[in-house]
Amino acid sequence: MNTAISLAYLAAAVCFIFGIKRLSSPRTAASGNQISALGMGLAIAATLLHGDVVDFRGILIGVAAGSAVGAFAAQRVAMTDMPQMVAVFNGLGGAASALVASAELVRLSMAGQEPALAIALPVVLGTLIGAITLTGSLIAFAKLQEIMTGKPIVFPGQQLANGLIGASLLALCFWSVADPTHLTVFWALVGMSLLLGILLVIPIGGADMPVVISLLNSYSGMAACATGFVLGNQVLIISGSLVGSSGIILTNIMCRAMNRSLFNVIFGAFGAGNGFAGGGGASNGAVKSGSPDDAAVILDSARTVIVVPGYGLAVAQAQHAVRELSELLGARGIDVKFAVHPVAGRMPGHMNVLLAEADVPYELLVEMDEINSSFPHTDVSLVLGANDVTNPDARENKESPIYGMPILEVDRSRTVMVCKRSMNPGFAGIDNPLYYLPQTMMLFGDAKSMVESILSSLREL
């Protein structure tokens, strides 16, 4: 029986690997997800047949409650809110792993067994990582949902406080590994880990949440992996490692796209206060502003157009209007593409999902590295709700706080149109010299109503 269960676990692991492999193309991705889900079903079914699982009452309640909440959330969440949803799910995954590790420790100590080092160490690590993931994710959720401020929360002596908590947590880890049946020490460790999760995320600004979510995604995998070591269960180890490496790769991509180190993202707020105060919008030079009719005439005579969408586009719910615009221009023989910066949106790949929801075919979405060489031969770049990712200062001005960040080089195209509510600087509070270039025309207004006005002007041409 146990051999059969182990083989079912192996099959589940194979399903997960194939499932992720099929995510390498949008064409096969949906079936990949189904294969992964099948693997999960298989693993769960096999576990229910295990001889140690005899009392199904609690399981039924847990599964029923969990399924109801999960299915409801999955159906109802708006695509703009995906980052929050993934944050919460990361947290729950971390918490589940921490609970499983704790349960095993409690079980062993109640049975009067002293866990070996090979068990005690992963119990402590799994609980530590899982608990940090839980509270860290809840704070990330609160920031993204704007329940709490998106600004970094800093207070005097914060570094000292974090340092002390980190040090005492380390001490508790050693103590707990050395004397795992001493449960009071273990519960103190749980409490400290939960506290550290909160303290680590509150000083990180809202704009950096994509990095935080990716990192917490990785943590939830590592926690599952540690739990696998506790139970000696290979499918847990394999799945946990897959998720852990996925999170690390995404974290790395996000950091590179912002030209910042992970260390700087996590501890950056402590060094703030000097150098990052570029705000105010007190810039020299005049901007040229245009009407929707002007924009329509220019677009109509263009041969190539690149749309640069930012999160502002999603906030204005302008995705559908933009898709109509791209179809109308396409029907007139104009080549339209979308340039997607890796940090457009609030989590890795978020903008692609928002445009896919608006029925923009995925072939039209081009990644930054691929499209940057096209800007010099592009007639019109239409920037909608994006700011810092188009700032030429990132390339040219060594003084700029975003110097070195890879950008979409819209300033190299023949005409640039920027739709923006006002001249207020963006999230990072940095002025954008793009707006003062001779070939730039500002379209002041809400992205959705602006695109709709351009559409109606275009139809009259």
């Binding site: 589940a12 499932g19 992720i20 492999k21 995510l23 949008p26 096969t28 991705a29 949906a30 992964s36 889900a37 999960m40 769960i44 295990h50 140690d52 009392d55 609690g58 399981i59 847990g62 409650a65 969990g66 399924s67 299915a71 999955a74 995906m82 993934v86 799910f89 995954g93 609970l99 499983v100 704790s102 349960a103 095993e104 409690v106 109640m110 990716s214 995998g221 992996c225 739990t227 506790v230 139970l231 000696g232 499918v235 847990l236 490692s241 897959l242 852990g244 490496s245 996925s246 999170g247 790769i249 995404l250 890796p342 989590m347 790949g349 978020h350 692609n352 995925y362 072939e363 990644e367």
Partner: protein
């Protein structure tokens, strides 16, 4: 050192390598579904949760297990469903819905 431990460390090392190899092939377009989908996979902790929750004797350990079952189920069910919902939206210019 016991051979079981060496075996699971081997599995771990190989899985990490496979993970890096696989994930680096996922295009940026699919990074959000990758995150929600891999998140659902990390709900595999449900296996450990079921073992703890279904134990013969009621105890603190089985109570923790039941809580873990509920949380991991949210992760698994919600994660796979929302990933499916997103992936259904990706379609090609040639109109073949996949």
């Amino acid at each position: 050192m016991n051979p079981d431990f060496v075996l699971i460390v081997t599995v771990f090392a190989l899985a990490v390598l496979v993970g890096f190899e696989l994930i680096s092939k996922v295009p940026p377009t699919l990074h959000t579904p990758l995150m929600s989908g891999s998140n659902a996979i990390s709900g595999i902790a449900i296996i450990g949760a079921l073992l703890a929750a279904g134990a013969e004797t009621r105890s603190l350990a089985s109570a923790l297990g039941i809580a873990a079952v509920a949380l991991a189920t949210v992760n698994v069910v919600g994660g796979f469903l929302v990933t499916h919902r997103m992936l259904k939206m990706f379609h090609s210019r040639r109109g073949d819905d996949s």
